[in-house]
Amino acid sequence: MRRGNYGYFLLVLLIFNLFFLSCSSQNKNQVLIWHWMTDRNQAFQKLAKEYEKETGVKVRFEIFFPPNVYAQKVQAAAQAGTLPDIFGILGEKEYLASFVRRNLVVDFSPYFEEKPAWKESFISQALEVSSFSKDNIYRVKAGIYGIPIDFMNIQFLYNKELFKKAGLDPNYPPRNFAEFIAQAKLLHQKLGVEGFICGWGETWLMYSLALDFAFNIMGEKKVLDTFRGKYSYNSPGWVKVFSLFRQMKEAGIIPEGILTMANKEAEEIFANQRAAFSFNGSWCVNVYQKLNPQLNYAPCLIPEVSSAYPRKIWGGAGASFMVNAHSPRKEAAVKFLEWLTQKKQQDFLIRVTNNLPAIKEAPDNLGLVLKEFRKGIDYVTHPNLWPVYEKPKVIEKFTQQLQKVILGEITPAEAAAAVEKVKLRIIKKD
C-alpha cells in the first residue's frame, strides 16, 4: 500500500470508530454500586448474582482503584450529578457532611423507624460513624447516612511463634508500655527481627496510635478539649505522647524505613515473621491469610501507658455504603443494603473476606484471631463519633512533628509547641 492510501485508510477508520465509541451503556433497571475494596470484589459479585436469583433485581458492583483516585471520582461525579445508586465516601466525616448539605445522600432514619429491628441489629459504633446527632458541629441535618457493611478496629499484634522462640510466654502479650518496649527489644536482639512495624508512611496510622495513647494518658475529655481549643498541646499529656514515640525509636525497636513505609510493606514484613509487633486493623487478617497462612499471631490492646484513664482503640465501620438521594432506584438500593446486612450475607462476607461483621449477632464462623479482634468492640472510639473534630491542618502538623521526633530532630516538647502554634493561629482566624 502506498503511504497516502494507508493514511487515508487510518482516517476513515478513526472517524468510523469515534462514532461507534461514543455510545454509552446505561441500564435503567439495575442498581449500580461503586466501591474500592479489592479484597472483596469477588464476594460482592457472587452476592449480586445471589440477590438477583432471590429477588429478580439486578445489582452491579463496579470497582475503582486505587482509593485516592476513587475518592476523586466520587467527588467529580457528585459535582456533575452522575453518582451511582450506591457508593462509599472515603475520608473524614466532613466530606460526608458536605454530601449531606447538598442533599446527595439518603437519610436512613425513616427506614429505621419503620424497621427498628434492622437498626438494632448493627453494632452501634459502626452505625454512628456515618450518623449526625442533633446540633452537631458539622451543622447538618441530623440523621443516619451510611449503612456499615463491616466492622473494624486497630490493635497491636504480636507474633506468638517468635514469642515462643525467644522464650516468652505466647499467651501473655505486654500489659504496659515498659513491658512492650522490653519485649520488643528482647525479640529484636535475640532473633534479629524488627521489634515493631507499621505503615507509618500512611500518616493516619501513626496519628491513630498517638490518639490511642493520648486517650489513655489524658482521658477523653482533655483530648476533645484540645480539639475545641480549651486545652493546650503544650500540656504534659501531649508531650508524653510524643515522647513515647521517641522512646520506641531509642529502644531500637522500630526500623529506619518506617516513616516512608506503606502499610502493605509493613504487612508483608509481619506476615513473613520478620517483626514481633505490629499495629494494624482487623482487615489484616485477610491479608496475612493470603501472604502466610501459617502465621501464628494474635491481637492485643495497646500497652497501657497510665492507669489513670481507660484505654481506647480506634475503630468503627470499615466500609459504609451511601445511597444516592436523587436515584430513581433509591428504594431498591435501600432494600439491597438491608439484604446485604442480614446475618446470612454477613456470614458469607466473613467467610470469604475475613472481616468482622457490622451486626451484633455473633457470627458462626469467626476465626480465632477475629474473635480476639471482636473483643475490641468495648474499647472502640473513632473521630467520627466525637462531638468535635481536629482541623486537618493541625493533624498534618501533628504527624509531621511526630515524625521529626522519631527522627530525633526535635524534642517532644518542641513538637508539642509547634503544633500548639498552628492550633492557636487557626483558632484566632475562626
Binding site: A71, Q75, L191, I197, P255, T260, A262, R425
Partner: protein
C-alpha cells in the same frame, strides 16, 4: 504570498480541530479552575466564594507548600546539572562511536519508557535495608554491592539507608529522578549533535584545534538551541514530578521529599478542590515565569 479574505477562512480551518478540542478540554477546565481557586473547601450548595483567602493562605501561612516547591526546585537543580551533563557526555560519546551508537540509543531510552511505578519499586527495594533479618544480612542490596566493590568506606554512609534519612532522602530521590530522565536529554542532544556537519570538525582539526577547543568553539555554540530546549523540558518535567516520588518515599520522611503535585493531589483527595486549584495556579505561574525568563535570557545571550 498574497492572501485573499476567503483564504483566511480556509487557512483558519486547518487549526479548527485542534482549537475546538483545546478550548473544550483545556481552556474550559482552566477557566473553571480559575474560578474554583476563589472558592472555599465546602462542596456544599454549589461553591462558597472566599475571595483571595486561598491565595493568602498559600502565600502567608502554608510553609509546607513552599517547602515542597523548594524540594522540587532542588530536584530540578540536580536534573539541570547532573542529569543534563550526563546526557551531554553520553551523547558526545555516542556521536563519535558511530558503529555501536545504535545499540546505546536503544538502551539509554529504555528508562524513560518504563513506568515510574516500576522504577520506584525497583529503587525502593534496592536502597532499603532488608527488614527483620539478623545483622549482617539486613543491609540494602545496593549497600551490599558497594561493600563488595570495596567502596564501603567512601559511600557507605550515603548508601546505608538513603531514602529514609532526612539528610539524604531528597538527594537520593533527585538522583533516581535524574537516572530515569537522562534518556530524553540524551536523545535530543544526540539528535542535535548529528546535525553538525563533520566538515567543521575536520577544518578545525587541520587548524590544530584540540579536543576541548573544538568542543567550546564549534559544538557548544551550534548545540545551544538544543540545549535550551532540553533545559526547558527538564524544568517543566521535573517541577511536576509526582508518581516517582509517590512510589519511592510517599513524600516522607516527615515531608522531606514532598513536592507540589503530591500536595495538590492529596488536597484533591481530601475534597479541598478550591485550595488545590489555587495551588495548581500558583505552580503554573511559577513555571511560566521561570521558563519565559529563561527563554528571554537565552535569546539575549544569543544576540550578544
Amino acid at each position: 504570498m498574497k492572501t485573499l479574505k476567503r483564504d483566511y477562512f480556509i487557512n483558519f480551518s486547518f487549526i479548527l480541530p485542534a482549537l475546538i478540542i483545546f478550548s473544550l478540554f483545556y481552556i474550559y477546565p482552566f477557566i473553571n479552575i480559575f474560578f474554583l481557586s476563589f472558592t472555599g473547601n465546602e462542596l456544599s450548595g454549589g461553591t462558597k466564594f472566599v475571595g483571595w483567602e486561598n491565595f493568602r493562605q498559600i502565600f502567608t501561612e502554608d510553609k509546607e507548600w513552599w517547602n515542597s516547591v523548594w524540594h522540587a526546585g532542588y530536584i530540578t537543580f540536580w536534573a539541570l546539572t547532573f542529569q543534563n551533563f550526563l546526557a551531554l557526555v553520553l551523547a558526545l560519546c555516542v556521536d563519535r562511536a558511530v558503529k555501536t551508537g545504535r545499540i546505546y540509543r536503544v538502551l539509554f531510552f529504555i528508562l524513560p519508557i518504563l513506568s515510574e511505578i516500576i522504577i520506584g519499586l525497583f529503587w525502593r527495594t534496592l536502597l532499603s535495608p532488608i527488614k527483620g533479618v539478623a545483622a549482617p544480612l539486613n543491609i540494602s542490596p545496593v549497600h551490599r554491592l558497594v561493600n563488595m566493590l570495596g567502596l564501603g568506606p567512601f559511600l557507605g554512609t550515603f548508601f546505608s539507608n538513603p531514602l529514609n534519612n532526612p539528610k539524604t532522602a531528597l538527594t537520593a530521590v533527585a538522583l533516581v529522578h535524574c537516572w530515569k530522565g537522562f534518556g530524553w536529554g540524551f536523545v535530543i542532544l544526540l539528535a542535535g549533535l548529528q546535525t553538525i556537519p563533520e566538515e567543521l570538525y575536520e577544518a578545525a582539526r587541520i587548524d590544530g584545534a584540540g579536543l576541548f577547543q573544538r568542543f567550546f568553539k564549534i559544538t557548544l555554540p551550534l548545540l545551544m538551541p538544543v540545549i535550551v530546549l532540553v533545559i526547558i523540558l527538564t524544568i517543566l518535567g521535573t517541577m511536576q514530578v509526582f508518581a516517582l516520588i509517590m512510589a519511592l518515599t510517599r513524600g516522607g520522611p516527615a515531608g522531606y521529599t514532598e513536592v507540589p503535585v503530591i500536595r495538590i493531589f492529596n488536597h484533591l483527595t481530601q475534597y479541598k478542590i478550591g485550595y488545590a486549584s489555587a495551588e495548581g495556579l500558583v505552580l503554573g505561574l511559577i513555571l511560566i515565569i521561570v521558563s519565559f525568563t529563561f527563554m528571554q535570557l537565552s535569546r539575549r545571550v544569543k544576540q550578544t
